[in-house]
Amino acid sequence: MTKYRVKGKGRVNHAKPVSFTFDGDRFEGVEGDTVASALLANGVHLMGRSFKYHRPRGVVTAGSEEPNALIGTTRGKGQFEPNTRATMQEIYPGLKTESQNKWPSLAFDLGAINDRLYMLFSAGFYYKTFMWPRSFWDSVYEPFIRKAAGLGKAPSEVDPDSYASRYLHCDVLVVGSGPSGIAAALSAGRAGSKVVLLDEHAEMGGTLLSEPSITIDGKEAWDWLEAALAELDNLPNVTRMTRTTAMGYYHQNMIGLVQKLTDHLADAPTAAPRERMWRVRAQEVVLAQGAIERPMVFHGNDTPGIMMAGAAQTFLNRFGVLVGENPVVLTSHDSAWYSAFDMADAGANVVAIVDTRPEVPAALVQQAMKRGIDTLVGHTATGAKGRLRVKALRVNPVRHGKVGPAQMLNCDAVLVCGGWTPSLHLFSHTKGSLHWDPEAKVYLPGHKTENVHIAGAGRGLWGIAAALEDGAKAGTDAVKALGRMTGTATYEVSNDRAGTGITQKELPTDRSAGKAKAFVDFQNDVTAKDIRLAVREGMKSIEHVKRYTTNGMATDQGKLSNMNGLTIASDALGKEAPQVGLTTFRPPYTPTTFGAFAGYHKGKHFEVTRRTPIDSWAEEHGAAFEPVALWRRAWYFPQAGEDMHKAVARECKATRESVGIFDASTLGKIEVSGPDATEFMNRMYTNPWTKLGVGRARYGLLLGEDGFIRDDGVIGRMRDDLFHVTTTTGGAARVLNMMEDYLQTEWPDLKVWLTSTTEEWATIALNGPNARKLLAPFVEGADISAEAMQHMSVVECTVGGFPARLFRISFTGELGFEINVPARHGKALWEKLWAAGQQYDICPYGTETMHVLRAEKGFIIVGQDTDGTVTPLDAGIGWAIGKKKPDFVGKRSLERPDIVAPGRKQLVGLLTDDPKTVLTEGAQIVDDPNQPKPMKMIGHVTSSYWSEALGRSIAMAVVEGGFDRMDQTLYLPGESGKPITAKVTSTMFYDPAGDRLKVE
């Protein structure tokens, strides 16, 4: 048995030893221990170094609010987790843990030199210290900050664990399973409501686990607890969840829960998720989160061995561990007296109880005397001796505000209680108001915005009897709010240890307050002096003080420090706390893994991958793929030894010389049908549609109401009342949404129906001089000869035996066809064309070749050559505007003063003087490379490629007043500081007359 384990005490299994490692050393604990309780059982208080000063720090709490004892845990490859609270991590055989922020070792740390450089790191140090000299930034400050920044070290490997995600609906969600939570769950459960009771700890019971000496309804506390939990488990309408944290409280009673499933297991089932995120929608919520004990602020209050009195009581009664053999108790609340009594009764030599209050209840003093404990009432603490472990506490009497002579109390632990803070973090998430109780100096829940009930210590009630009564009432109120009638249970409690106390600013001292290292925020190393300095330097609101000092900004969100910080700031400002304010708590309540938020959305499930019917063919033929919107598209088809450049050059050449085959199935497709379809098209698109005959197709241009290009695509008229609209791959959903918007809300009188048909059709594009020769033998029911089927037309027929909408169109400048067949036939038709195409050396090509071929023709890609600020005139496609139409979406904006003003950026071609130089897309352009810096950028490159057909590079760019700059030389950044020169040209680089379309 380890030295500080008390036989017969606690709820741990003394008969089951469990060994684990901490910083490489083997330690023994027992089943039921946390890392903190097991280390304490071995006499280890020093569990970490502080963030800024690297000061040695010991564990101070027994719960999730722990600021100091943060450890790294390793469960296997990729399963390292930093900043785990040692007070929450259960031990299991083989667990590996390590301390943080230390180098080279926890006991001897070089970074602790920071502690001596206090002036460098006082309040606002980021704002002051690192401002000057400027040259120090790169060489000194930044490396220093990078090394020092962050708590612990980030994991560097891929997390192999899985995380689950579930929804849950219930009548009453009870957060916290102390006496008030259990009483609430019993009330609601007995009334038949669907209840979920949860607790972040491994075991339910809350305070009851640390208070075994009281009796409830004639039963000892732990017997009553066992019976109550058994009753809840027997109710089919009640669910209990342990190791589960309510991490956020969102609108309309949605609560996020994170349930830890495997972190406490030596052998986790392989398929089990590590954590599960629950999204709970509850009709009523009961918050029974209790209260958090406040530290006291005095010089040296962060010395290891100084901890919360309530935590010491928990370590003793729940884990059977004495945190010290010779403790001193330092308090301003009755509760710590009971901790002292429990310690004494378990065999500790309690050196003294030091109470800062001038008077305490006589009964407490009597009980202390009975145990032979010295009591020092009306005293202050002014220092602690010891660096790695407290050796003595320096205390002084205070009479009429005067601090008297000091005495040293030798000890190995100091158990502190500076009062209790109701835990209202989740309530604060709901934007519920808090009201200040000037008597108790605490914030209590005020106006509620959700269907929520706060019970027990969370609203300032103290003692187990009060908690039970209040919890029962909260449960009943919740049930009544759901429209059910029920009575309220009552509980008979004896030996209850209710009490009162006071809260205060930093303790009075006989020493120079300016030299005191009296910590308020342990995790961020903020002292009382820092807060007073911030006020002196002009910070008037707690929000400013917080940001200037970083008080409460650590991972514990100031659970221990916020109220002490506020008390000191309001004292410095001479104002009541509510006038200074309270910072806002935000989700998550405690640090939450990214895995829990990501859930199933990782790896292949991160987002949907849309595949075309021809995708598998492309994969079989070695395509490289690229993501386009949610689609994966064949990018190019490399042959042996080819890189992208070579493959694309070959694909371009083959297509222009004979025939290329391209999967265009991802194009968005919308059927616009109905008697008013033409009118609707006239109003939506810039182009005129009235005179477009059945069987003809037209390039359609869609603007926003602001006049800027939103989308484009070829649109075929299938019937008088039916248009086959195509959109860009990425724009399909947006365009349909926009059409629906106008149809539903502006023109509900139009008889038009819109149907997304993107996935109904597989679309195969054939381009090149041999396209018709290849296609014609497959076509039945239509004549596709040059005379019968003109460029920009569409016909319904069969192709390869499949019903088809066959377009004669071209996005390459070559003779081209796009064959739409029902998606299920797409791959079969592709394979037929592929087989027959062998005689023409048919070449499959991907999106990269498609981009090059269209750029050679100057065809724009919306979203690449346009960016939401480009009008049709800017893009040089003013011809697509139906000038005679009275109105269309965006028409009026084409007359806006800024749109008609000179100097707009216009889309032009760029040809580099060196034909081998391919410009970088996005490169900025200037017209005078000798102008002083910063230079005036007049535009940027939007598209740039090697053109195999032209044997040189080509580029498109938007340039200020570009149309008036033809043949002008412009300059772009080149390597080695020498600018690249390029001439402005038309964007029609290849076959400007369009002769290549005229293939017989």
Binding site: Y250, H251, Q252, M254, R279, R281, K431, T449, E705, D706, N737, E740, D741, Y742, Q744, T745, E746, P748, P886, D887, K891, R892, S893, E895, R896, P897
Partner: protein, 99 residues
């Protein structure tokens, strides 16, 4: 996550099913060519950006697909009511009286 009542489905459903669609009751002019530059600018860009009750459009995009209107308090982020496209903005005083 908010719960939103779709007036077409007559059902209250999670926010994930809906998409925001800007301020409500901004009607596209019958004949935009008759508007001055200033009037057209106001139609395009000028919004109330209210602190308080905001009339706004939502679309039940992953449901029935219909656009509808809502009154939402931008301070509390709470929906006060939803109503069909084309219906007049509800009178807040009547809404409060009904509560």
């Amino acid at each position: 996550m908010l719960l939103i009542h779709c007036p077409y489905c007559d059902d209250t459903l999670p926010e994930l099913e809906f998409a925001y669609a800007g301020e409500a009751h901004i009607v596209r002019p019958e004949d935009p060519s008759k508007l001055s530059d200033e009037e057209w600018r106001d139609f395009l860009f000028i919004r109330t950006n209210v602190k308080g009750v905001h009339a706004e459009r939502w679309r039940h995009i992953n449901g029935c697909g219909r656009f509808f209107n809502a009154l939402r308090d931008t301070v509390s982020d709470r929906f006060l009511t939803t109503y069909k496209a084309g219906e007049a903005r509800p009178d807040m005083t009547q809404l409060e009286a009904a509560e």
